[in-house]
Amino acid sequence: MNILDLLLAIPAIGFFVGLIMPRAQEQAIRLLTLVFSLIAFIVSLGLAIGFQTGQTTQQFVTNVVWIQNPEIHYHVGIDGLSLWLIILTTFLTPIAILISWKSIQKQAKEFFAFLLLLEFGLIGVFAAWDLFLFFVFWEIVLVPMYFLIGIWGHDRRIYAAVKFFLYTMAGSALMLVAIIFLYTQSGTFDYATILDQLASGRIALSHIQETLLFLAFFIAFAIKVPLFPLHTWLPDAHVEAPTAGSLMLASVMLKMGTYGLVRFCLPLFPTAARENAPWIIVLAIIGIVYGALVAMVQPNMKKLVAYSSVSHLGFVVLGIFSFTQMGLDGAVYQMLNHGISTGALFILVGFMYERRHSLAIADYGGVATVAPWLSTIFLITTLASIGLPTLNNFVGEFLVLQGVAQANFTWTVFAALGVILSACYMLWLYQRVFFGAVGEGVEHHVLDLNLREWVSIVPLIVMMVWMGIYTQTFLAHVSETNAQILNQSKMNVPLRVAIPPVGGGHLNAR
């Protein structure tokens, strides 16, 4: 049993302990789940400390047989790609618990227990190295999130929760077919073995098979990302979810989709991935611009942030399908960035909602006068979100755009529109909410941050600066794994999709 197993066990144990606690002991349950999530966070730091650079294989591996026949393994391990996503999960869970401390009074026991179950599932998704196990965790995540939205959400919570569940179910049904099909071909669920067999040609997929399998995985992931036009569940889910739900949904769950694309779609089906890249990239760019434009006209703060997620995640997909080292690095970095900065935005919007009980932008105005600290923090987060240099998003967006420019400069031009538009909608939001005349409701209800809120938001601000300034802490590990994945995605590929040579005729950043 290594640190990774321990890390999986802690939230699971916390979930069960939380469930058997007596209902009346609400405060004790809050404390207990907080303690469990903090322990999980500390343990997860052990992963970062013990992580060895320069290794091409996964680390902290545990591989034991779960079911003999069909052979299913409990096979977990991490590499540079999953390391930071796991730490992002464990980092945000205690924050999610803290921000729900006061706002969740109804059925508190289940709420906090579900947050731990969610953490368990998310860590599992990023750590699983067996396709069956991956699918198990992938689906487990659905259940707590469904309840989080459905029980503790806002007015249209039931509609949003069911929509969220069904969208994901439809996608994962296809993925399950693809996983089983791979199993019938290769006789194993072990990801590394399947990869090996594919690379060495021991299982040969026909062109049409590969394309269909790629699409089956891709659609499941694209729904989760969500890629335009499969994004319609997201604004509903975000707006209706409680703050902690929105936080976990935006910051980590969306990354399950992009993680899946990088982890599975590229290495497993390199040819199909490259062949289908053009239209996927078109969709990603449409998502970037469309998400930003729709965000601009939203009268609801949470919906605005939700659509900005569609836009930001478009960058990630764009980077992934640029098939360049920089693009991929930027994409993965952007996953982490988005987790931090959009997470912070959702938290701050949640704070405002707790004060004013409204998400409508029109109900605010002049908040900067009455709550200067809240406004300052919001400003930093806004700037991070629009990609101000020295803050985190800049690095990711820059790398993505540069990587894409290597592949096709036209794409970059269109994608860069998203950067400009993000400044428009975020700054306009800031102006309308924080400046201007102080309204009646704002003056009496919007207080400044209290200690608990400070504790939950400051770590995120610190991370924004850290990730903006000293990228090497994170990017080195990511980059190493990405190079390997990129390499795998070139194996046996006749490179049917012509990628313009670097610097060939186009203006290039290098």
């Binding site: 026949n69 929760a161 077919v177 099909f181």
Partner: protein, 486 residues
């Protein structure tokens, strides 16, 4: 065949479960007039005792596998698996009947005797090696079920259910019998293994065999309530007493699938190319009609009836795979399905109240706040129905679709899994009303769970998790017994 008609000790041992069940059923009938007034609860306890004894006997019989009574019955792993399954369903159905019979002031002796007889019939069906024995077992099982469906004589719906079930059931049996007669006409035997051999000899009229197989598909299709022969199921399941519906949707169905598999995977294996397309369509229709019809239901029992049609469709997918893998997938899924279905019906029994007045989905409103444990257990079954990992339902579905893909039924697998995504919608509604609505009148006035119902809820929940997390033992047994004497 040796002309030794005196049964040996082994013969009796192999037949012991049926003997125990029949004797116990008869004894209950005799005891009924003596103790019905004084000890109404005694009969259920006796029945459970008999079921447990029969289950032990079934396991003991598995130690001496082989054919008995001049090859009329056969005890193999397949038979043992299904015997244990239907007897287990019998136990759970009895457990969930205590409160119900008490509440409806119904006679207990006959009820439990009928349940025992029905299970005895199903035990004969699953271990029969002869078309006539299959027919006899089917009739014993069906006739008891007809009576059980109309057990509350004064209830209009009960009468409707019994009549409908009886008429359509007999009609279906006619088809089955006609098919059997044709087979006898062609081959001159009713023994399954001999039929198989006879069909393998050249010169047999394959056209007539196909007709016989087609007739049997119709007859068995009725019994397993697969579309387009599903019309009776919603009305019957809705009208019959809730514990009987729980029983009917599981035990007779499991037994019917067992003979379906046994006949088609032994006798008709050779012509499987000609019946596979039929089963393919049959499976797709069942899944699609069941799931889409369930979407609009507001009555819990009716919704579960349509869900049982859809689940029959999933099982037929595995039959269409025509492989040992498919057979073991059918076995596994039937166990998982039985557990979740009985568990879900136990909750319905709990909330429906006297005269089954509260059967609307909305009657579950706010159950999680009033009785969190009941709600949590129903959640387990619902998640299993949806096919969420770590439940038996998920692993069963996974196994079925694996068998389908293994036999290159890619499109059936894709359509089936998409169907299960559709199904998630109506199952989710149960979770929605339980967890996301405020408690309604029904849940406000709900009594706490009685011990019997509690057991009928907790045992299937444990089983559901066991099949989902550690399916190994059941899976291995199913796989090792999926050969069917080939």
């Amino acid at each position: 065949m040796p002309a030794n008609f005196a049964p040996s000790a082994d013969d009796y041992l192999r037949f012991l479960p049926e003997i125990i069940l029949t004797v116990a059923g008869t004894a209950l009938m005799v005891l009924d007039p003596l103790f019905a007034k004084r000890l109404p609860k005694m009969f259920g306890t006796l029945a459970i005792g008999a079921f447990i004894a029969a289950m032990v006997a079934a396991c003991a019989a598995n130690a001496v596998p082989g054919a008995s009574f001049s090859n009329l019955l056969i005890v193999d792993g397949f038979a043992t698996y299904f015997r244990v399954l239907v007897i287990g369903i019998g136990i759970l159905a009895t457990l969930s009947s205590y409160e119900y019979l008490d509440r409806e002031k119904a006679e207990t002796g006959e009820y439990h005797a009928l349940l025992l007889f029905s299970v005895a019939g199903q035990c004969i069906m699953v271990s029969a090696n002869d078309l006539i024995m299959i027919f006899i077992g089917l009739e014993i099982s069906s006739i008891s079920s007809y009576v059980l469906a109309g057990y509350l004589r004064d209830d209009k719906r009960n009468n409707e259910a019994a009549l409908k079930y009886f008429l359509l059931g007999s009609f279906a049996t006619g088809f089955l019998l006609y098919g059997m007669a044709i087979i006898y006409g062609i081959t001159g035997t009713t023994k399954l293994d001999e039929v198989r051999l006879a069909l393998n000899t050249p010169g047999v009229s394959m056209g007539m065999v196909a007709v016989a197989a087609g007739l049997m598909i119709v007859g068995l299709g009725f019994k397993v309530s697969g579309a387009p022969f599903q019309m009776w199921a919603p009305d019957v399941y809705q009208g019959a007493p809730a514990p009987v519906s729980a029983f009917m949707a599981t035990a007779p169905k499991a037994a019917a699938f067992a003979i379906f598999v046994r006949i088609f995977m032994t006798c008709f294996e050779r012509i499987s190319n000609s019946w596979e397309p039929l089963i393919w369509i049959f499976a797709l229709l069942s899944m699609t009609i069941g799931n889409f019809a369930a979407l609009t239901q507001t009555n819990l029992k009716r919704m579960l009836a349509y869900s049982s049609i859809a689940n029959a469709g999933y099982i037929l997918v595995a039959l269409a795979a025509r492989s040992e893998l498919g057979t073991s997938a059918i076995m596994f899924y039937l166990a998982a399905y039985a557990l979740m279905n009985i568990g879900a019906f136990a909750v319905i029994i709990h909330i429906s109240g006297k005269g089954e007045r509260h059967l609307q989905i909305d009657d579950l409103a706010g159950l999680s706040q009033k009785q969190p444990l009941t709600a949590a257990l129903l959640t387990v079954f619902v998640l299993s129905f949806i096919g969420v990992p770590l439940t038996g339902g998920f692993f069963g579905k996974f196994y079925i679709f694996r068998a389908a893909l293994d036999s290159n039924l890619v499109w059936l697998a894709v359509l089936g899994l998409l169907n299960s995504a559709v199904a998630a919608y109506y199952y989710l509604r149960l979770l929605v009303v339980m967890y996301m609505h405020e408690p309604g009148e029904v849940t406000q006035e709900l009594h706490p769970l009685t011990p019997g119902l509690m057991a009928a809820l907790v045992l299937p929940a444990i089983g559901t998790f066991a099949l989902g997390i550690l399916p190994e033992a059941v899976l291995n047994f199913a796989r090792n017994s999926s050969m069917l004497g080939r």
